[in-house]
């Protein structure tokens, strides 16, 4: 049992933090926001050069580190409110490819991710399912190929992805298909999201798919569930960075803002609020570490105890979502009128933190998951 990070891990986090502080400050981000979908090809290539897109990839594909390193990098993406499809590509899709993809797919796709040539999005959730993983999109076999029909809703980063990983029902459960958004029969409705990022609704009408569109063999149900859990862990890490930054900017603001002739940070009512924000952000990081640890490949949970992994990942998402809401709301509150302005970073942190809660199951959804798990426990006597 050891929950500290080693020197190399901390150095990696520091390098991501320093790079983003220099190359992705709030004004640079504002310029990116003005782009059609918030993503900057220049920044993405710089990520590739820095090796950020290789974090967590398998070693044969030139990968750096594992789940822990990825978590630390994601904290920095949250701290700098990075708009790029980093989480979708590196934390969500790349491990799905590495875990479920055939060797040929891995050899094709993973190096292209590392070099910045491939942005990915996972098209899995559907409108009717809300946060459930029910898939109605279907790939029906006709001779040597399949026809894909159905729709995916609010695919995060779907508007900027070069390639979509699409889940669909097949004869043997679920499969994951690699679908180029420009394929005939695919229609994307691209839009911005509340936090300045982008997403897409994707519709498939008789999209013809061949064998080389299939990511991996066999039923992908378990692989998809695991991928979503890793995505949740990644969101938790991003939220931790954003909460720490929201707290830091709030503390600084209350030290400089004067009312009644004194910095408002001297008022005990505000100090206690900031203490509570600190406690929740601190504990949120503990839960983020728990979620990442449970999803890590070597953990007991990953090997066998899927129930424990599911339960702790849901617990983490609930806690982080709740903390994100509290920290975001109070950071705005303590900035007073300026908290409502677009000009300061705090409103942008609040919006991203809110949307993280609303992605891959909000806190109520995950509370229900933990609550239902209680019913499956063995009972003890009073």
């Amino acid at each position: 049992m050891h929950l500290e990070f080693d020197e190399e891990q901390l150095a990696l986090q520091e390098s991501v933090r320093r790079f983003l502080a220099e190359r992705y400050d709030f004004e640079t981000r504002r310029r990116c926001l003005a782009q059609p979908f918030g993503s900057s090809q220049e920044i993405w290539h710089a990520f590739a050069e820095q090796g950020f897109l290789s974090i967590g990839l398998p070693e044969p594909q030139g990968g750096i580190g594992g789940a822990t390193e990825l978590m630390l990098a994601l904290e920095e993406m949250g701290r700098s409110l990075v708009l790029e499809p980093y989480l979708s590509t590196v934390a969500l899709c790349a491990p799905l490819i590495a875990g479920h993809g055939t060797e040929a797919r891995q050899a094709d796709l993973l190096p292209r991710i590392a070099t910045g040539g491939l942005k990915l999005a996972l098209a899995h959730a559907e409108a009717e399912a809300r946060y459930a993983s029910t898939v109605r999109t279907e790939a029906r076999r006709t001779g040597d190929s399949c026809l894909l029909n159905g729709a995916k809703a609010t695919v995060p980063d779907g508007a900027v992805a070069d390639l979509l990983l699409v889940s669909a029902r097949t004869g043997n459960g679920l499969s994951v298909f690699l679908v180029d958004p420009n394929t005939p029969g695919v229609r994307l409705v691209r839009y911005r999201t509340q936090d300045g990022r982008s997403a897409a609704d994707v519709f498939f009408k008789d999209v013809k798919l061949h064998a080389d569109h299939v990511l991996g063999d066999g039923d992908a149900t378990v692989a998809l569930e695991y991928a979503v859990q890793r995505g949740i862990a990644a969101l938790c890490a991003e939220a931790v960075g954003a909460m720490e930054a929201a707290n830091a900017t709030t503390i600084e603001y209350t030290k400089s803002r004067k009312q009644f002739g004194t910095p408002i940070g001297r008022f005990q009512a505000l100090q206690h609020r900031m203490a509570d924000m600190f406690v929740q952000a601190t504990q949120a990081r503990s839960m983020s570490i728990l979620a990442t640890g449970r999803c890590a490949a070597h953990s007991h949970a990953a090997k066998g105890d899927a129930e424990l992994r599911r339960r702790d990942v849901s617990a983490a998402k609930y806690y982080v979502g709740k903390a994100a809401r509290f920290v975001g709301q109070q950071a705005v509150q303590l900035h007073g009128g300026m908290g409502m302005a677009d000009e300061l970073a705090v409103s942008h942190y609040f919006k991203r933190l809110t949307m993280i809660d609303m992605t891959f199951g909000d806190s109520l959804h995950h509370l229900a998951a933990v609550s239902d798990a209680i019913l499956r426990e063995p009972r003890e006597a009073v």
């Binding site: 049992m1 100090q271 600190f278 504990q283 570490i289 640890g293 953990s299």
Partner: protein, 398 residues
């Protein structure tokens, strides 16, 4: 970073569990698990059993006769002990005055007091709070006037926990009328049998006797029983408070109480169905379980930082706030699970072995009183408001 316990930690856990299973008297664990009244002998008896194994002071280094456990091993010991219903470690000696003596006590004090804490010969209590000195502890008024080889102590201490069981009291007294209030306090060790000490019970909200007033009337305390320097007692008192980092979270106890809450919710019937099947009640349990998980992994992070030789600093204030709120919500949900059975006041049912009516009171009668009692957790050891002050001043720089 690794969430899993190492094989060595797992075998340590098995060893502790085995020892407790073989040696913890069942009638004692039944009292602890059922929140029945414990006698002095229940607590000291378990302390002696642990002492026979060298485990009576889990936090002590080997040089003072402790087991020299790592922070993670101490945590495992606490989890196993509390889960099994062992009486708590007698904190005022083992965890509070002992670290002060180890750091600031004279060699003679260490040689006299520490072995007697280990063996259980001396039960310690704390003389800190006074009627006029609570959160503002440094304003305390109990005086100690030097007269030759003794201090003559006069004043009144309050909220003295289990002083009626105690042999010795560590006590903060004012030894000067000059300087800042923090710089005129000394730290004395007082034999409770000394002439002039009277201990009077304070009835608490649940009707139980847990704390006392201690009156000191011309009590003569040898100067040799002062720890460290005269007028430096505040430094030692602060060391004592910040030394208690992790235990303050009461993690093991809350994990046990969560299991107990679920067991009660499964036993209690609501319109013919187990209460735990009621989604609204179960969601409240789930929310609390997640809060406890967040506390657990924060504690484990602090332990890991300590294991790496880093001082986690004022983070213990965060553990105190979360830990106390969880303890309170656990006791609240256990009471609320009872529904109308939360109302009866049956104090006699708190004695072990009591059988009588109303029916079932032997298992539920303690729960409402415990709810009232647990409100203390956000008040004692530095109220949660004081903890928020500490966080905002020391961690946030406000």
């Amino acid at each position: 970073m690794d969430l899993e316990y190492t094989p060595a930690e797992e075998s340590f856990r098995a060893e502790v569990r085995q020892f407790i299973r073989a040696n913890l008297p069942r009638e004692v664990s039944a009292k602890v698990l059922g929140h029945k009244r414990l006698t002095r002998e229940d607590i000291i008896g378990w302390h002696r059993i642990l002492h026979s194994r060298g485990w009576s002071a889990p936090t002590w280094p080997k040089e003072f006769g402790g087991p020299g456990w790592t922070a993670v091993e101490q945590h495992i010991f606490d989890e196993e002990s509390t889960a099994a219903g062992a009486p708590p470690v007698i904190a005022f000696g083992v965890r509070m005055v002992a670290p002060v003596l180890m750091k600031y006590g004279s060699a003679a004090q260490q040689q006299f007091y520490l072995p007697r804490i280990l063996s259980g010969e001396h039960w310690w209590c704390q003389g800190y709070s006074e009627p006029g000195a609570g959160s503002d502890l440094a304003s305390l008024k109990t005086t100690a006037v030097r007269r030759g080889d003794v201090y003559v102590v006069n004043g009144q201490k309050t909220w003295n926990t289990l002083g009626h069981f105690a042999d010795w009291m560590f006590c903060l007294v004012r030894t000067s009328t000059e300087g800042r209030s923090q710089e005129s306090i000394s730290f004395l060790l007082i034999d409770m049998k000394t002439k002039g000490i009277s201990v009077r019970p304070i009835a608490l909200i649940d009707g139980e006797h847990e704390v006392n007033e201690v009156w000191l009337d011309d009590v003569e305390v040898p100067v040799a029983q002062r720890v460290g320097e005269e007028n430096q007692g505040w430094t030692y008192a602060k060391y004592l408070l910040t030394h208690e980092r992790v235990n303050i979270a009461r993690l093991g106890e809350s994990k046990r109480e969560l299991r107990s809450l679920k067991a009660i919710a499964a036993r209690v019937s609501s319109d013919g169905r187990p209460l735990i099947e009621d989604v609204r009640f179960r969601d409240a349990i789930a929310a609390l379980e997640i809060e406890l998980r967040a506390l657990e992994y924060t504690v484990l992070r602090v332990l890991s930082a300590e294991a790496s030789g880093r001082d986690p600093g004022a983070i213990s204030s965060a553990l105190k706030i979360s830990g106390s709120e969880i303890q309170q919500t656990l006791s609240e949900l256990k009471m609320r699970a009872l529904g109308p059975r939360a109302l009866p006041h049956v104090p006699e049912a708190l004695d072990a072995g009591w059988q009588g009516e109303p029916d079932g009171a032997e298992w539920w009668a303690a729960l409402s009183g415990r709810y009232f009692n647990m409100r203390k957790t956000s008040i004692y050891s530095g109220s949660n408001e004081i903890q928020r002050n500490i966080i905002s001043h020391r961690l946030l720089g406000l």
